[in-house]
Each structure stands twice: as structure tokens, then as C-alpha cells.
Symmetry: C2
Subunit: 275 residues, 2 copies
């Protein structure tokens, strides 16, 4: 099947509002080491988490169209906010398959819970959209969901305060009530949060299992590529190409080190054609 | 002078990356109660503080052009980041006078200091631009300047945590070293910071005078209007028109209450023509 195998050689396009989506890239590299990845972070308009559905849909369409224009065989929305608010729209308008981070997280959370009570952390826009709660309840009626918007976590992560008293104090505020209840599963509903895994695990306590949507997303992407016959031919190591709509600050280095991501120099693309 | 008095009746255009610039609007209302004010917050692309000069210049030009298109007789850049990085460009391209928040803050800080050592707090972009340090040293060679980027303060303010242990802990980190030195003047180099005045004053200690660029900016605007013969004819109360490029969240209500700002319903403008 020459047409299909040529499609399979094309890269996976991954986008995020900024840099946090690299946690998904890291998981994709582990799960799919033979795939070429084009990553595009919308640092000129980051963050998406406090913005409206209409604006998040528009930004997501513009960024995803750029990846498709560069030959992406699949688009991965490595941003919970964009997955929560723009996935349906992207699936309508794009000519390639689109995977997000919410459905894989929902599946993993349902597999993990014993008490039937799942807690979800995310940005204001993600939590406000109800995307996680709706998907959890649609998949398993009767499931209990406690959702909590955590608007300070992204800024704390972007400052590199992964292990810090201030971060612990903020997490205590967000997680104290959840720890005291009977939720046994905590969905990290933002691609920044896996960088806080240890602090989050401490704050949540030993009775709660953390569900990282990045790792689950990577497994879903692998399965979808196989279903569609789109997995890259084996035998060569995949490449990673990082680009951004505005020059990324030091946080990019912090994250690349924390994740052990190897890539060439990050490119900056003119934002003008995007907006 | 009919031409001039008709110009004088036009509104003052005020813009900010989001909602923080309302501290400048509040000061303008007190200083110039007869002026009509058009405020435009770029909430679709907020914040500017971590972005590049090129992107901040482009966003500022687009927003300011909109205000001029609606008849603004003067543009006030109620955002330290945009003042630090885009004021020169705006003065080149706009057909009306442009005032920012940095020059008034510099003037007030120089009037306040006795030790000749001034501390400045701001966003990463504002501090990284060196705009305050350069302007202070240009106005008074030999002045000592300690600058500190405070990227967590805007998120804390936007969460309404004006009086909060977490805010106090973060301020201690930013201000501990400054309090221990001999700086006697602290410039609040971000329009969000006046909402933290009490917490900042506690963290800075009694030996340090706070300089609020909003109040100083309003006085400078009043002086410039008089110099240019552009002050609104007396005898009628000015109006305040608030608009945003994306629907503002609860923070708008928090700020309007904190500042006692009276205005009609905020309008949302289509962001598309702006970007």
C-alpha cells in the first residue's frame, strides 16, 4: 500500500498553548520512538486556560491548520483546555484524525477508581467547560466527580517551583478537601501538572491514585495509528522538531531538562499568519 | 478655537493587556472626572508580561489603533509591559499623543528617594527590558536601581488573593532582600500591583515608600491635556466605557468593586479584526 505507507511516514503534529504540552511529547517519544513529531506551542497567546470557548476554538484551529499544512498525518491536542473546548470543532474542520488528552484520561480514571469518586484538577476554562465531568458521566452513569479549577498551578510550574513551600501551600488549598473525601483517583487535567507529580502525590495523600493524561494520551495515539495503518515504518529513530509562535523563555530549558527531551534548537515562527 | 474644543470633547483612549489597567482608569477618574474614557483590555491575548518585544509591539499597535479609530484624542498605555516595550513605537505610528506609566513613575520615584537607591518590581518583560533602570539612570546618573521580576504577582492578584498567606509568602521572597538593603523607594511597575498595596507595604517594611505608577500617570495625563489644550470642557461628568477582546472573567467584578469603578456593562469586541 504505497499511498498509505507514504502517509505513515509523515509526522505527528502536536500543539499546545505553550510549553506544558511537552509532557505529552515526552510520553509520545517513549511510546512511539520511531515517529517524527512536529510540536507547535502558541507562546504568543499563552495561556488559553482563562479564555473563552470562541477564542480557544479560533486559536486551536489556526495552530492545528498550520501543522496539517506541514504534512501532519494526525493532530494531537496536547493541551487540556484546547481538548476540552475545541476538540469537537477540530474534528469537524481538519482533514486528518485528531486526538486529545481528555478521552484517554477519562478512560484511565474509570479503570483506576474503586470508590467510584474521581477528582479532576484543571484550568478555569477546562473545569468550567465540564468536559471531564460530562465524559466521565457519559461513560459511567452514577460516577461521582469533584472538579477543582487550579489557576495558580500553571504560573507556579512556569516558575519552575516544582518543589517549593509556596507550591505546597497552594496545593494544600486545592487538595485539602479532596483528600478528606472519598475520591480515590485524581486526574491531572492540565499538561503542566505532571511536572508537579511528586508535590501533587504528597498533597493528595497515599489513598489517591494520580492519572496523568500525557501517558494515557500517548497510548491512545499509538492504538489509533495502528488502527488506521498510520504507524511510521520501523527501523529509524523519530525526530523531534520544536517551534513556537513567540520566543520561549527559560521555562523551555527547565522543561526539556526535567523531561530529558532531546531536540534541535527551537524555531520561532512568525505569529502574524497565525492570527 | 472650535477645532481644538471639538478635539477636547473626544475621549481619552486607555488600553492594557487585560484588566489590571483599571487601576489607571480609577486614578484618571479621580484626577479628571470630566473626561470620557474608552478602555480596551486585550483579554484575548493577556498577559503580555512574558512575551517578546516584537509581539508586545504588534499587539499594542493593534489595540491602540482601534482606540484612535474610535476618536481617542490621546492614548494612555495603562500597562507597564506595553509602556516598557512599545511606547517608542506607538509614538512613531500614532497620530495622537501617547502617555505611558513608566515616565511618571520614574519622576515620582526620583522625587521620593533620599538614599538614591530605588527598587523596581515588574513583569519579566518589563524588568528584562531595562526600561525603568535606563530611564532612572538617564534622569539622574549615579542613581542605584535594584530590579526584580515578580511573575507570580499577576496570577495572585487575578485570583483576588489581595490579603492571603500565599501572597505574603511570595512577597517575602521577592522583597526580603530589598527590605534588607538601603533602597528607600519601591516602584510598583505593573498596573496590577496597586491592588496589593497593603500587602506590599507590609512586606517592604516602614522604611520604604511605595510609588504607584497609576496615580502618577493620571497626574501626567492631566498636565499634558492642559499643555495641549485638550482638556474636556468643564460642566459635565465624564463617562467610562469598558471593552475587552475576550469576555472578562470574575476578576473584572473583583477589580471594579476594589476600585469603586462605576461603568455600564462591559462590551466584548470581536477579536478577529485586531489580530
Amino acid at each position: 500500500m504505497p499511498a498509505s505507507s507514504s502517509t505513515a511516514e509523515r509526522p505527528i503534529g502536536v500543539f499546545d498553548s505553550g510549553i506544558g504540552g511537552l509532557t505529552v511529547v515526552s510520553a509520545l517519544r517513549r511510546e512511539l520512538p520511531g515517529e517524527n513529531i512536529l510540536y507547535l506551542g502558541d507562546t504568543a497567546r499563552v495561556p488559553y486556560g482563562g479564555k473563552s470557548r470562541r477564542t480557544i476554538e479560533r486559536y486551536s484551529e489556526e495552530i492545528a491548520a498550520l501543522l496539517v499544512g506541514e504534512g501532519a498525518k494526525m493532530v494531537v491536542v496536547a493541551c487540556n483546555t484546547a481538548s476540552a473546548l475545541a476538540l469537537a470543532r477540530l474534528r469537524e474542520v481538519l482533514s486528518v484524525p485528531v486526538e486529545g488528552v481528555i478521552e484517554p484520561g477519562v478512560e484511565a480514571a474509570l479503570a483506576a477508581t474503586v470508590t467510584g469518586h474521581i477528582a479532576v484538577l484543571g484550568t478555569k476554562a477546562t473545569i468550567g467547560s465540564g468536559a471531564y465531568a460530562d465524559a466521565l458521566r457519559a461513560a459511567r452513569p452514577g460516577i461521582r466527580v469533584t472538579s477543582r479549577a487550579c489557576p495558580l498551578l500553571v504560573p507556579l510550574v512556569e516558575e519552575g517551583l516544582f518543589e517549593d513551600e509556596v507550591t505546597d501551600a497552594v496545593l494544600e488549598r486545592y487538595l485539602g478537601a479532596i483528600r478528606a473525601g472519598d475520591a480515590d483517583t485524581l486526574v491531572l487535567g492540565c499538561t503542566h501538572y505532571p511536572l508537579l507529580t511528586e508535590a501533587l502525590a504528597r498533597a493528595a495523600g497515599p489513598a489517591i491514585t494520580l492519572v496523568d493524561s500525557a501517558a494515557n494520551c500517548a497510548r491512545t495515539v499509538a492504538r489509533r495509528l495502528d488502527q488506521l495503518g498510520l504507524r511510521a515504518p520501523s527501523g529509524h529513530p523519530g525526530t523531534l522538531d520544536l517551534s513556537f509562535t513567540d520566543p520561549p523563555d527559560n521555562f523551555l530549558q527547565v522543561v526539556r531538562l526535567a523531561l530529558g527531551l532531546e531536540a534541535g534548537a527551537a524555531r520561532v515562527r512568525a505569529a502574524r499568519p497565525l492570527v
